[in-house]
Symmetry: D2
Subunit: 476 residues, 4 copies
């Protein structure tokens, strides 16, 4: 496969979430809970997986590149004893894709072990790292989580709680973290609440996870969301909550979690994700009127909006492309003598269904547009007469500085292209985006609850300008 083709393959999966985090305290198989929790959060990061556990005295770790089920086997989990554990699945946002950057990040300080799992992006990581280095700190990774641990270590003589509070006062941006020492589990979320983080209970033990689907799998009871700006500390003495930073009156929930990232069976920001997506589709049906033989999603991410769209519009729903369930990690490229099978390796069109038909695609979002372009070409090759597309959010015009991996303007198709240009690029007969208002209405929450920066360019937290994913590498 040429590197260009590989790039295409990589982009198949759309924008990548920062990470998923998990924590458990008080369960005799804490690491096993973490394993299942991370398994349920796998969609939030497929690059590396890691769990750190503690039996109250010793800390154990296992981190590797790969999916949860690849990284952990029975033996690996059994080498992680104890009643406390945190875990992390990661797709790189800050920090490059190498093993040393696999989380949780662990360090030891004065006989104590500190471990952190972080979802999100600090917006002042570079500045803070510079300050720490000026005081003599050395760094092992390029992940901004290491900065948080340094900040805590430097004040830990004041007690862990005070050190935490002081560290959190210094960091800015998006962070939903689980943190642990030998005998405590801590969870904290930034004052804007960019990323979801919820608290659950399982018999007597506490669990924390990025999404409720992790609680569901381990059959933990959902208690409540960790609030923006809240620190929750769980230890032998029970559970305790601290509000560190004053909240700015309004939150900045990432609306892209609802559009694409979170699992449809999760409940985040107080919303049922499945229902919100279906409503996006209903809103599309209200805003557009497309004449087509049937509507179809690109499975599975577009399924829910497609169902809503068909329900409201009365359009027939079909599954015009079939997912191959056996897509492997490594895939051999066609040779020069073959045509590029491209997208069909993952989704194969149903010829009998498409021939001579007018089709409307209901899609969750268009980021770079490369995948859409290829898939639409495949549909046309399979005989579709007309292909229309409805997208369940507005055009993505601005990069995200809070943890979503489409950080540069150059990568965003809608950044420099008009609707007409986009239509031509991806090759559809017509193209409609859901309006900002329609999208917000569908959530049932007020506009003030959300960070809409990727659509509006209005960033709720100031950031150090446009910077690449590798900003902490080489310090420049």
């Amino acid at each position: 496969m040429s590197s260009g083709e590989k790039e295409e393959m990589r982009k198949f999966k759309g924008p990548k979430e920062a990470c998923g985090v998990f924590g458990a305290f008080g369960h005799e198989d804490a690491a096993k809970l973490a394993y299942f929790g991370l398994y349920a959060l796998q969609h939030r990061g497929q690059e590396s997986s890691g769990i750190v556990s503690s039996d109250g005295k010793n800390v154990y770790e296992h981190r590797r590149m790969g999916l949860v089920t690849e990284v952990f086997n029975e033996e690996a989990v059994n080498r992680l004893p104890g009643h406390i554990a945190i875990g992390h699945v990661r797709y790189s946002t800050t920090g490059s894709s190498v093993l040393k950057n696999a989380q949780p990040f662990i360090a030891s300080h004065a006989g104590r072990t500190l471990a952190i799992a972080h979802n999100g992006n600090l917006t002042n990581a570079r500045t803070l790292r510079g300050e720490l280095e000026a005081k003599g700190s050395i760094f092992q990774t390029t992940i901004d989580s290491e900065v948080i641990v340094h900040l805590i270590a430097r004040k830990i003589h004041l007690g862990l709680e005070e050190a935490l509070v002081r560290a959190i006062r210094k960091i800015e941006g998006a962070y939903a973290c689980t943190f642990m020492t030998e005998d405590e589990l801590i969870a904290f979320r930034d004052p804007n609440g960019f990323r979801p983080l919820c608290l659950g209970k399982l018999n007597g033990s506490y669990v924390v996870a990025s999404e409720t689907c992790a609680l569901d799998l381990i059959e933990a009871e959902y208690v409540r969301d960790i609030e923006p700006g809240e620190i929750v500390i769980v230890n032998e003495n029970g559970i305790k909550s601290i509000k560190v930073k004053k909240q700015h009156g309004r939150s900045s929930f990432c609306i892209f979690e609802l559009i694409y990232f979170a699992r449809p069976d999760s409940r985040i920001f107080g919303c049922n994700v499945y229902n919100v997506r279906k409503k996006f589709g209903e809103k599309l049906a209200e805003e557009y009127n497309v004449d087509a033989d049937f509507a179809m999603p690109f499975p599975d991410s577009g399924n829910y909006a497609a169902i809503g769209y068909c329900r409201r519009s009365g359009a027939a729903l079909e599954i015009g492309m079939i997912r191959n369930h056996y897509v492997g990690r490594t895939f051999i490229a066609p040779s020069q003598s073959m045509r590029d099978f491209g997208v069909k390796v993952k989704l194969n069109p149903v010829h009998g269904l498409l021939e001579g038909k007018k089709v409307v695609i209901v899609e969750d979002s268009i980021i770079r547009g490369t995948t859409s372009r290829m898939r639409i070409k495949t549909l046309r090759d399979a005989g579709a007469k007309e292909v229309h597309m409805l997208v369940s959010c507005p055009p993505h015009r601005y990069p995200c500085y809070y943890g979503i991996d489409f950080s540069t303007k150059g990568e965003l198709l809608a950044c420099r292209n008009s609707l007409e240009q986009i239509k031509r690029y991806i090759g559809v007969d017509s193209l409609g985006y859901l309006s900002l208002e329609g999208m917000i209405e569908a959530t049932g929450l007020s506009r003030d609850c959300f960070c809409l920066a990727c659509f509006t360019g209005k960033y709720p937290v100031k950031h150090d300008g446009e910077f690449s994913k590798l900003c902490l590498e080489k310090g420049d």
Copy 2:
């Protein structure tokens, strides 16, 4: 995981198809074509994968336990040069699950290499093997494909074509095979045509595959099905067809291919699988009237009938369980201290959708019933008030002797249980099966075209009584 739990896990995926076969002649990257062809046929067998290629002089092979994308990487495919190749994906029907039984089976005889890839089950393999051993033959595997090669070798002094014809006259049962020597590709299908096998063309080269989805992926043009009882020989001199055994006036297409096995984007037995499945759902809507809030499939196998059902009945379609896309090969079991997460590892219910609702499940088939039982329990735990189930085929009451892995009566839920007992076992409020007539009508073909033995017990080809998968092991 206890072995019982593992067994459950294994059964998640439902009945297993025998195998998928592929062949190519005249393409400079024949093995690469086979790789993509097998990739598209992966649903027909996930236990082992193998390709044999020839450059006209030397024969190369690579066979391993595992999925196509696990068994082959760029390097492995590059070590398979030549313009001829056959390939095989396998789930064990005859022969146990060990490497030596991975196909294609290869042997050398008098300076010639003979390789075969076989989908189906010979019904007189045991008898033939006994006869061969009495003449001094020794065996390497427990797969009945080895019997075919022995038969061919014993008559090859009469010429390959004559040897083939004589071998095929001796074997009985189900076989859709690709076969090769250093310089020929041969495909043959039993006179009943139990299993599908089609011929395609790609520029100047010929390809043969179990299903058209393999032709689609490699962008080969579908030419026609290999007919029941036909041998197709492709070599330097072109393509040649021989009709070996007289067809019995009627075919015995396996209807379970249409119900469950074949990919929905394939065209087999002259039918568009996607459309047939949708029609099964429509027929269900005609035969049953269930009062429910919405209908849902167990994704993805039930999707198509569910769409048909909703279309015809007007019921709302929902996706009440979400597939986890990251299900790994090895999975760690919950500990004693945890409840059994069982089915949720693969499919998670959408709580917000199910709570307090009356649900009708549209399912393709019920074989052992264990998976259905677990999934229905999960739906109830997630709050479903009523769960009804409609199945898009009649009850499976008889084992299959022609290549489907539910060979013993004991494994079939409907074999010893009444409708009422099945209903209670799987835990639904009501249960309806599609009628035999409704099912046949949906296919658009006549009843005479199909083998319906698993529903009716009328076997089109006599078999050696009930025998287990391992009948060729230890010769007993």
Copy 3:
């Protein structure tokens, strides 16, 4: 590494022995005994390792490319239960280096499993295979052991013992074999006794091995050698000996086993190998008078003759080259910018010792001369002023057809070169070979006991002309 360099690396280790075989009957951990036995016989073959075991009913196998300690771990051995086992370590002589040719070779016939481990070369394998194929036999491997199993299977209706006797009457050449069925262990050795094979006892159980060093490791008691032309059958009824072929009055013990192949701590052909090698050195001292500062071997194979030489001649013994104990399987090649470290990767010269010195090397044998040439260059680079070489056998002029891997004349340095030419090629100041008479005398046995064909060209068993290792591949 260029392929030429790799070839050099491969040749470092000198000529390769055919194989080592082992068998055990009546021990509760028969496979574990085989593991240790093969471990002790590893010097006889490093390409593949395999064990087959039986518990009296079922047969278990594990064969892989690699050393015994690489191929087997605790888990692999535990999957080989039973009280009967045979094992094999292999360097390819007949048959190419691929997994399918790993021994023991196993086949099933009429409900019975037959397994064989073979050391040696059949000289009429090609003829026999042709006859078998004419009768319809198909072949899985290119090893001549498969021929033996076919021959046995064809007559097994007469009883195993009779079938064995008839098979052995047909095969010619060198064979020291262990063979087993579900309930018997059999060992047999060709009438010439080319390869060693001994019988031992361990508590109540019997063991068979190529060399006594295998008995030593498992602390079995040496009983006696399996005699040339003898079949030993061990089963529930005890042990039984049959003499199949009349012995030709004289044996043909491979003298190269004493010179190089067998381990010095073994006792074979009634000789203590260590003592014989020391005597070779003593004989060299008697035949040659070299003026040097000291004598040294190339460790470890030359150590024993060097000790004998120094003892008799009074020369000082030094270890002028030090073995690196960590030589790995894969080794990275120097880049173009570096000089070729060649031989030093394995043996490093001791500079302080060699500078300005006159050295005499006592070496076991020179086959191709490439390794000697490189090593001598290394000694000169390290400062040696004069390098003389004494070799503890006569010049190798003729290929071996009985199991030693220097089968073609072209590979033998002494085949086409005069003493003077050899001296110049390997770069020594003087060169002396032990005389044939001196060598024989050192063994303490009569000339009639040995096959001396590699020195004299007089072959004790007729052979099918010069043929390559791959003679059974492609049947030509």
Copy 4:
């Protein structure tokens, strides 16, 4: 294998050296040089291997548990481009046996990468680490090399050279290090010169290595030893030497390097190791007069003293135990039903040689005595009538705090036992140790040059009392 047996296996190899270090500057394949250099230094550490390289801008690393040839393949070395490299092989002394402790240790600070490879033990690491943590430093490993990097980072604003000098002024104990940044190679050795470190030249490039055998393999020219207390800095501007700490008038060369650790073909501390060891044997012959049939070493470590002993005493030299060249990393244990093969897995006695004989073993040293005890038992089982032992150094009575892995008194056989008790424990008929004076005389250097603490208890550098290998773990 029981853990006790494993422990025995581990002890087979005698005391373990701390580490081997290597560095190269100015060679286009610096990492490949490091690969070969480490390969030659493998005897100094077999637990982990690592190389860090730089192309002047970027730094690349590869570190794993395992031997050099296991850790590196062609691909891994090719991913380490650049003209600067340092490398490390490690057996744990300080720090436990886990991947994160594999060296070189790397950190980044203010946009600069600092990497270090360290042989030896700091005696004030614990104190320094405490001071650093009090200032807020966090730690990743338990190796004391991390302390050195922290010290350098804290002063690097004064320039690297000044930072180095200040760091070195703070650290105490044994250290022979290679260190690098993106554009410099630095080597430094403690003022006592406990561990060897030498400088070489290869065409225009500089190399540094623990022993000259590494220079030999890569055909670099030996220039001189890095002097005790010297820092050598190599960069674009050439080479520069700084003397940091005043030397105490006398050095403290580790005499155990000469006795056992260094390779015999190396030249360290100005001595030819091979010759010194031979002289140890000669001195033994002068000090003892043992009546025996022959003398033998335990190969290979005892070979050199045995040669010297036989030369001087006139005793016959034999190789009474044969090394198995195929000892694997993992080894399966005998079952309960077998006797423990123990030592024979590695060294097999030559029965024919030993039976009824009086044998004198010339051995380099006795540390724990467990291996000697087992081997002597094996010799007696093989028939030896009398076994005497001569040891080429005095009894080891005191632990080493400078990098040798026999840090606790409890492990030293001679610590609590009289000569008579040792004799009985290891099972010899007589036992003689070389006198301290004899040993020193054999080296040709004065007593003042050496650290003799393991024999005399007089430690040249004060240490923090008896501490375990894990003293830096958990900070206690």
